[in-house]
Symmetry: C2
Amino acid sequence: MLIQRLSILGVGLIGGSLARALKQAGQCGEVIGCGRNLANLQEGISLGVIDHYTTDPAEAVKAADMVIVAVPLGTMAKMFGAIRDSLSPDAIITDVGSAKATVVEDARRQLGNHLPRFVPGHPIAGTEKSGVAASFAELFEHRRVILTPLPETDPQATAKVVKMWQYTKAEVIEMAVTHHDEVLAATSHLPHVLAYTLVDTLAQLETRTEIFRFAAGGFRDFTRIASSDPTMWHDICVANCEAIVKMIECFSQELTQLTTAIKQNNSDYIYQVFNRAKMARDKFNS
Amino acid sequence: MLIQRLSILGVGLIGGSLARALKQAGQCGEVIGCGRNLANLQEGISLGVIDHYTTDPAEAVKAADMVIVAVPLGTMAKMFGAIRDSLSPDAIITDVGSAKATVVEDARRQLGNHLPRFVPGHPIAGTEKSGVAASFAELFEHRRVILTPLPETDPQATAKVVKMWQYTKAEVIEMAVTHHDEVLAATSHLPHVLAYTLVDTLAQLETRTEIFRFAAGGFRDFTRIASSDPTMWHDICVANCEAIVKMIECFSQELTQLTTAIKQNNSDYIYQVFNRAKMARDKFNS
């Protein structure tokens, strides 16, 4: 068994799904959940996702050999500080944050001597739903997990976190912190910003009730991610601010050019953008 | 039986699905398909969607009591002109175009004495796929079809088109032409413009191969509509230019404000946008 005592700080969609997957694989013993929402923690017990719970992070990590920090990015620093003095000397710590530079900074400031056993991580998986009730063991199957180990990270700690994710049937990839944050700004953070902005723009139009009434399947798919947790996404925008703003600016520049083409009835330009996009999207699909 | 001889000009996803649904409901006799792509027409025969085909629109509408014009918006005027002199005196003509003002303009210029039997229509249904192979009889079930009859439209013609769509299990709604074009610019045309722009922006980044490699389910859903037919969407942008540009400008204004908030670390503003959007999207979902 890979993990004797697994501590999940933040028993939501990601933390809950990881606990389920590891239990299902027979790779973890006891699972301790920690959070602030008692109803959610009790649901975690009923669903068999966690075995015990506490609202005290320091308590939750005692005697744990693997600690998963699955809280919003804005809470990472506080969480690292809260657990530092209760961690076992050989405990491995990893996180699931959607941006890595700020988490690494938080860890460097807060984890003290435990830093070499901290392995920054990010599973590229999720749905627009939140909470332990939304978790399921198969969430990570055939998905990618990016680890961004630091120069001082103990290779044995990284190896154990790689193994852990492999038991969830994910593909594990290592990447530099900055590169991770740029790639994710493009493929995940920017789309979320656009979806939230679109839905809020429409919701503020006077005819909003009627507008949503005539929305079809394409709109439903396009805006699904706007149902994601606003606190989590607020934190991502604050944490990965620079890369996200850069991507928004690339996007806005292209949108401005396309708008000019539409205004000027520039058929070639419009068709070329749409056709290039279709080809790229069809290729991604296959 | 509602329709004796149904003529489908443009045997694609929409035209094909309508023929299938009406056949399945036992509400149409012979179906004549018309298009330029012979392989697609032959596939329509093999799939039992159409009974005969021709590449000549004038031929296709002879003796038809119901004519469905399901071609891209940019081809409507030419199609109306091509069929005018071959239409039966009592034939009812309807279309499925995603913008209505230009279709109405085309019909007024081209249909001559047949104008009172032309009922402009738009089924709010579709997928990102094209061609008769993508068609299915259930496409319109529980979806809305908007009709925008003109002051001179014969109410009996409208009534027959309403009945036709009801046999596909769609809900039929009447609306003014301008209102239709504004509502659809918001819920359908703008999202398509944004999806195409996002995918094209990313495809032009140097690291594009890797970028798409790390895209997850949210990205897949968000960009699905960028696989839609570029000719069809080019024509929609040209036809509904004014309403679309207005919506892009509303969206861009809100995106600029959000970008400023992200740059300035204005947490309240960011959270409020995301939270309002989540509430609006969750409500739409329910």
